[in-house]
């Protein structure tokens, strides 16, 4: 199986860039979707050509010496060992080439750092292991959601064929209007993450306790994908970034729908729910938010991720557990889940309190609402 696959790879290469393969082989930058990414691409190509020329020149000399100055063809060694003119030249000329490269690079650096006059400001928060988006300023202000991987576990573990967007698909991507300057503020709740959309040429570390920024202006509509690029623990490979760039009218429509939805979900908070309903819903919320650390068995992965089965907190007073889930626990991987709705939180807390042998009281959405600060 392995062998035949290896052969297939070699055959694919021989056939010319794997034309028979189901997926095009990516070997260069993603097609730029912003001027910044285009500038970076151009800069890279300029430098690559300079390098190719120098490389061929230097190793042309070396391989000529290997060919012509061999002992086996009777070449006698000369005994020179310095030449001041040559040595000065090969110090000064590279320095001049470097200045020539640094000039255009400097212009791009300065443009890249200019995050002023943004049309839209979005805060991106890295969590272990998902992204939170808060629209802070501009159209859509106040919208806030969490974005998580939707690739099913079976695909990752080999139980199902892998989809085309394997590991690059999320439930809610960031949505921005085309042609607008978007300032991205990054921060993190636990450890350092890094937010990156290659097609925009925008990458910025998300650092817990600090806010940093970058920006992009997408020049065409479409869906653009990247991945977290700073090692952030176990599931580092499983927190992709998706940005959907839409036309301005479509963006305005989306913002309207989103706001309407938010006001609807605020209404169910007062309703009391049956235990079975809470547990059923809670199991889904748990699978989406908690299972990576606390495991399907509720046993966690100590010491970083404590067990919930038999836990004092889970079997203790309701308020303590609600506060922990709402606010997180500082200096641990346990982050705040306040972005979830009151119903979702009530459901997942009730689920943990009645699973894996835990037998504690259920929690209603109204109780969550009361504890929110």
């Amino acid at each position: 199986m392995r062998g035949s696959k290896a052969l297939a790879v070699l055959a694919g290469l021989a056939a010319g860039a794997g034309s028979g393969a189901a997926h095009a082989i990516a070997w260069y930058f993603q097609t730029p979707a912003s001027k910044m990414a285009q500038d970076i691409d151009t800069l890279h190509q300029v430098i690559m050509w300079i390098i190719v020329v120098i490389f061929v020149g230097v190793f042309g000399f070396m391989f000529y010496a290997i060919y012509a100055h061999r002992k086996s063809v009777g070449h006698k060694a000369a005994q020179f060992h310095e030449n001041t003119t040559v040595e000065i030249l090969w110090t000064v000329i590279p320095a001049i080439i470097l200045v020539a490269i640094a000039w255009p690079a400097t212009k791009v650096v300065i443009a890249q750092k200019d995050t002023s006059a943004a049309d839209l400001t979005i805060k991106v928060t890295g969590y272990q292991w998902k992204w939170g988006y808060d629209y802070l300023r501009g159209e859509g202000e106040g919208i806030s959601f969490v974005s998580m991987l939707t690739t099913p576990r079976e695909q990752i573990e080999g139980g199902a064929p892998k989809g085309e967007r394997y590991l690059l698909e999320v439930d809610h991507g960031m949505v921005v209007p085309v042609g607008k300057k978007v300032r991205v503020l990054t921060t993190a709740a636990d450890v350092i993450h890094s937010w990156w959309i290659p097609a925009f040429g925008a990458k910025q570390d998300a650092i817990p306790g600090f806010v940093r920024d970058t920006w992009f202006r997408a020049e065409k509509t479409g869906t653009f994908r990247g991945q977290c690029v700073e090692l952030c623990g176990e599931e580092h490979g499983f927190m992709p970034i998706v940005v959907r760039v839409v036309s301005e009218p479509e963006y305005a429509k989306g913002v309207g729908e989103r706001k309407a939805m938010a006001s609807r979900s605020a209404e169910d908070d007062t309703k009391a729910l049956a235990l079975a309903e809470l547990v059923g819903r809670g199991e889904k919320v748990y699978a989406a938010n908690c299972v990576a650390c606390h495991q399907p068995t509720g046993r966690g992965a100590p010491p970083a991720f404590p067990p919930l089965a038999g836990s004092k907190v889970v079997n203790g007073p309701e308020q303590a557990q609600i506060d922990l889930v709402l606010n997180g626990k500082p200096n641990t991987a346990m982050q705040s889940f306040k972005q979830l709705s009151n119903t979702e939180l009530a459901a997942v807390i009730t689920f943990t309190r009645s699973s894996w042998g835990n037998k504690a009281s259920d929690v209603q959405p109204a109780e969550i609402k009361a504890r929110r600060k």
């Binding site: 910044m36 040595e87 573990e157 290659p198 040429g201």
Partner: protein, 536 residues
């Protein structure tokens, strides 16, 4: 350095010269620089195999998308330990081994300056390595944070993190002691007539490296100690909630980490500067400029650290400063490459295994240097930071650079060390296998990196599959080729043909011109008075 041989002070070929002990205790108690050099080299090869097996676990998991062999947490432990073991366990001790063997016999000294401390600096290493490996058996396993040990991820780790921190303390102590020994030996124990500017370049590169080590190992020790107190004693050096800053860790780490790159590279430059003239039968071109370039690289290495951190959100002036300073390193590095090529130019070249590795080094290290220039440019680095492009870049510098130089050095000095010749045919086969499989493994990683594959991930999107297939196949070929190296060395030691007094026609440093082959257990005691020709 064509020398006028005046004093053949052959060592005592008889008697109680192993210090009264035999068997294992000889090695435990030895203060002889040659014994200690040998132990360093075997230790580093052992760690090279251990780190190599970890690399194979990584490559096996990455052969195809999906999780097949290990879980993500263990994968992270593998990447962390592979990095730490290769850097601190394999490459650094290898060059300290060369330093121990060669510096005294290249400068005409009877031994290293602090012989007992030399024994101690070596014997710390096995315990440090053991502690590092024991971390796998701590609750929670070894740390899965990457060899850079970035805070605050380190705070989440189990007790394995503490094992690793203490192992780094021990490794650092060993390095500092070794460096003090090297500095003292070179500055005080040169034979009369061996002026600094007549020393073989290998001694020069090690002198400068030793200063770098003394300067930066304490910085690393500070960084990991702060991590330790953040973990256990309530300090907040790297915790924003307590007034600290996670990025401060990165600044401190890379203030160590960038000079560390040159700590690994400079001794490799030294080895190459011995091999290329020998097989070109021509003096090293631009000796003085080589010394100045090495010094310039060492000084610049202290002011470029933040080029590892372009994406943390530095001010624009910071980014520009580090970009210019980093690009500047290309100038002295270029001088070195030009000097090596000029040494070969109009020489009388032969291509025994050491020369093959030196040429392989020259070609591939320069390629790694060029990708370094690409990465020095802030905007391009922002696209490539933390991708496989960076992985490819530093493996070209570390493997095709340092490791190739170490292989070349072993083949070059084996006759002097053992009095026997290695099998030239097998040596050449080892070179070509290593060369080919190295490039299969790492060249393709430039492409996956450009296309956007992040490093340190156990699973990846489908568009990177082809590159990872190829890279994994290359890695297994590369690993198997190194078993051939072990066989060649063992065969040389056990049954190699008697080495001639001067196996390499063009080699002209003291160990070749003033000592018999193999080098006697005690050499240059008393020290010779050298009448070396003025280095023009």
């Amino acid at each position: 350095m064509s020398a006028v041989v005046h004093d053949h002070s052959h060592g005592h070929e008889h008697g109680d010269h192993h210090g009264g002990y035999s068997g294992l205790m000889r090695w435990v108690t030895t203060t002889n620089h040659k014994d200690i050099g040998t132990m360093y080299l075997w230790f580093s090869f052992t760690m090279f195999l251990v780190g190599g097996v970890m690399a194979l676990v990584i490559r096996a998991e990455l052969f195809s998308p999906g999780l097949q062999i290990v879980d993500p947490d263990f994968f992270n432990q593998m990447t962390t330990m592979h990095g730490l073991i290769m850097v601190f366990g394999a490459i650094m001790p290898a060059f300290v081994g060369f330093a121990n063997w060669l510096i005294p016999i290249q400068i005409g000294a009877p031994d290293m300056a602090f012989a007992r401390m030399n024994n101690w600096s070596f014997w710390i290493l096995p315990f440090a390595a053991l502690l590092l490996i024991l971390s796998f058996f701590a609750p929670g396993g070894a740390p899965g944070v990457g060899w850079t040990l970035y805070a605050p991820l380190t705070v989440q780790m189990g007790a394995g993190m503490d094992f690793t921190i203490f192992a780094i303390h021990l490794l650092g102590m060993s390095s500092i002691m070794g460096s003090i020994n090297i500095i003292t030996t070179i500055l005080n124990m040169r034979a009369p007539g061996m002026t600094l500017m007549r020393m073989p370049l290998f001694c020069w590169t090690w002198l400068i490296t030793a200063y770098l080590l003394v300067a930066v190992m304490p910085v690393l020790a500070g960084a990991v100690t702060m991590t330790l107190t953040d973990r256990h004693f309530g300090t907040s050096f790297f915790n924003a909630a307590g007034g600290g800053d996670p990025v401060l860790y990165q600044h401190i780490f890379w203030f160590f980490g960038h000079p560390e790159v040159y700590i690994i590279a400079l001794p490799a430059f030294g080895v190459i500067s011995q091999i290329i003239p020998a097989f070109s039968r021509k003096p090293l071109f631009g000796y003085a400029s080589m010394v100045y370039a090495t010094t310039a690289i060492a000084i610049l290495s202290f002011i470029v650290w933040a080029h590892h951190m372009y994406t943390v959100g530095m001010p624009v002036t910071g980014q520009l400063f580090f970009m210019y300073a980093t690009a500047l390193i290309a100038v002295p590095t270029g001088v070195k490459v030009f000097n090596w090529v000029a040494t070969m130019w109009k020489g009388s070249l032969t291509f025994e295994t050491p020369m093959l590795f030196a040429i392989g080094f020259l070609f591939l290290f320069t390629l790694g240097g060029f990708t370094g220039l690409v990465l020095s440019m802030v905007p391009i680095d922002i696209q490539l930071h933390d991708t496989y492009y960076v992985v490819a870049h530093f493996h070209y510098v570390m493997v095709a650079g340092a490791l190739f130089a170490a292989f070349g050095g072993v083949y070059f000095w084996l006759p002097k060390w053992t009095g026997r010749m290695y099998d030239e045919t097998l040596g050449r086969i080892h070179f070509w296998l290593t060369m080919i499989f190295f490039n299969i493994t790492f060249f393709v990683q430039h492409f996956s990196g450009l296309a956007g594959m992040p490093r340190r991930i156990p699973d990846y999107p489908l568009m990177f599959e082809t590159w990872n297939n190829i890279s994994s196949i290359g890695a297994f070929g590369f690993a198997l080729s190194q078993l051939l190296f072990l066989y060649v060395v063992l065969k040389c030691i056990r049954s190699g043909a008697q080495a001639p007094e001067k196996p390499w026609e063009g080699a002209d440093s003291l160990e070749w011109t003033h000592l018999p082959t193999p080098a006697p257990y005690h050499s240059f005691d008393p020290q010779p008075v050298l009448e070396l020709e003025e280095r023009p």
